[in-house]
Every structure is written in C-alpha cells, then in structure tokens.
C-alpha cells in the first residue's frame, strides 16, 4: 500500500534560519497528489499546500515545496523560520483527485522555532 516517510520527528531551529522538512513517499500510482498539513496547538490540522505536478514549485504562506516524482519526494521549505511556525507538520499522499479518496499521512514532524 501507499506510505509516507518523514525522517525527522523533531526539528528545533533558531528564528531566521531556513526550514526544511523531509517527505518521501511510496505508491504504485503514477500521478499521486502530495499535501502538507500543519497542526498548530489547540487548533485543527489544516492544509498548508498541495501539488500533483512534477517539478513545479508550490507556495503558500511563505512555505514552498516541489514534487519530484523521480525521487518520490515533496520536501517542505521556508527561507526564514518564524516563532509562529512552531507546529506539527504532516506530509500526506493521495492516489486520486476526488472527494472521498483517503489520504495517507506520514508520522509528522514537530517543528520548534526558538528566539
């Protein structure tokens, strides 16, 4: 079945430094949809960004990610971390583009940004 791997469970950064959270996936489907969800403390998880286009950069709220099918990766990046970026980040995969296709999530990466 599908799987998503986030290699870092915990990432601690100093404010202003770049952010990179790793995400790789496995699926038999040739056109997967990849997502990053962010879960802030005391809030509901919500979509940060998504992509299904190979080698195209997707950006939202200062974060960006590029789907690379050749390496099955969808790493999340930001040029300069802010204190408010501290949260739990999940990478997810879906094989289909329709409502009612389940998302397979990775184990999550907890990002802590310190002053």
């Amino acid at each position: 079945g599908d799987s998503v791997t986030q290699t870092e469970g915990l990432v601690t950064l100093t404010e202003g430094l770049p952010v990179m959270l790793n995400c790789t996936y496995q699926t038999i489907y040739s056109n997967p949809f990849l997502f990053w969800y962010v879960h802030y403390l005391n809030e509901s998880p919500r979509l940060l960004l998504k992509s299904s286009t190979d080698n195209k950069r997707t950006e939202h709220q200062g974060f960006h990610a590029t789907l690379h099918k050749s390496s099955s990766s969808f790493h999340l990046q930001k040029s300069s971390a802010q204190l408010s970026d501290s949260a739990l980040y999940y990478c997810a995969l879906s094989a289909y583009n329709n409502a009612g296709a389940k998302l397979t999530f990775g184990g999550g990466t907890r990002l802590t940004v310190r002053p």
Binding site: F35, P45, K50, A92, A99, G100, F105, G107
Partner: protein, 114 residues
C-alpha cells in the same frame, strides 16, 4: 460555516468501557474520514464514508471498533471494551467534491482510557 464539529472534546473512560465519538461534517461535504493521532503513529487512517456509504475501513481494528454514518449530518465512531492503547486523539475530517482532496479537520476528541 462552523467547520467540522466533534463531540466530546475530551472523554475519559475506564478500561473495558464503551466510548462513542461524534462527528458533524461540513454541510454539503460528501466524504467523511476518521483518523487517529498518536505521537508514535502520527495520523493513522481508520475509515471513511462517501455519500454515507462505507468505502474503506482497512485501518479499523476489527474486533472493537465500528463506525457508522446514519445520515449526511453526522458520523459516529464507537469503541467497545476500551483499552489503554486506544488512548489517542480521534480526528474527523470531511471533504467536498471538486476540492482536490482537501480535508477539513475537526478539533478532535481526546480519548483517555484509564
């Protein structure tokens, strides 16, 4: 739009007791999902419904977990004979046709089994 509503927010049960978790999806959304969130497993898929019909329950522990969607406005997840390892945050999400699989999550129910 109130978003996905989950009740209760917190539930404490004793080992062996039953727990029922409720979810009200966003009106008009055709799919409802249940996930379990733990530190070790992350977001673990349990089951989902499309247009109220059960589609995939491959993530459900078969013996004690069950889910229903009796109408388009709510879904329930029932855990019989709860065990300490069932302690987790249970998240419900819904999605809309044409939304490219964007899931809208509720705030979750934190289940603690003592």
């Amino acid at each position: 739009n109130a978003g996905v509503i989950q009740t209760p927010r917190h539930k404490v049960t004793g080992k062996g007791q039953e727990a029922t978790l409720w979810c009200e999806p966003i009106s008009g959304h055709s799919a409802v999902f249940w996930y379990r969130q733990t530190i070790v497993q992350g977001l673990e898929f349990l089951t989902y419904f499309r247009n109220q019909a059960p589609i995939d329950d491959s993530g459900m522990p078969k013996e004690r977990f069950s889910a229903q969607m009796p109408n388009q406005s709510h879904s329930t997840l029932k855990i019989q004979s709860t065990q300490p390892q069932d302690s987790a945050v249970y998240l419900c999400a819904s999605s809309l046709v044409g939304s490219q699989n964007t899931l809208y999550f509720g705030a979750g129910t934190r289940l603690s089994v003592l």
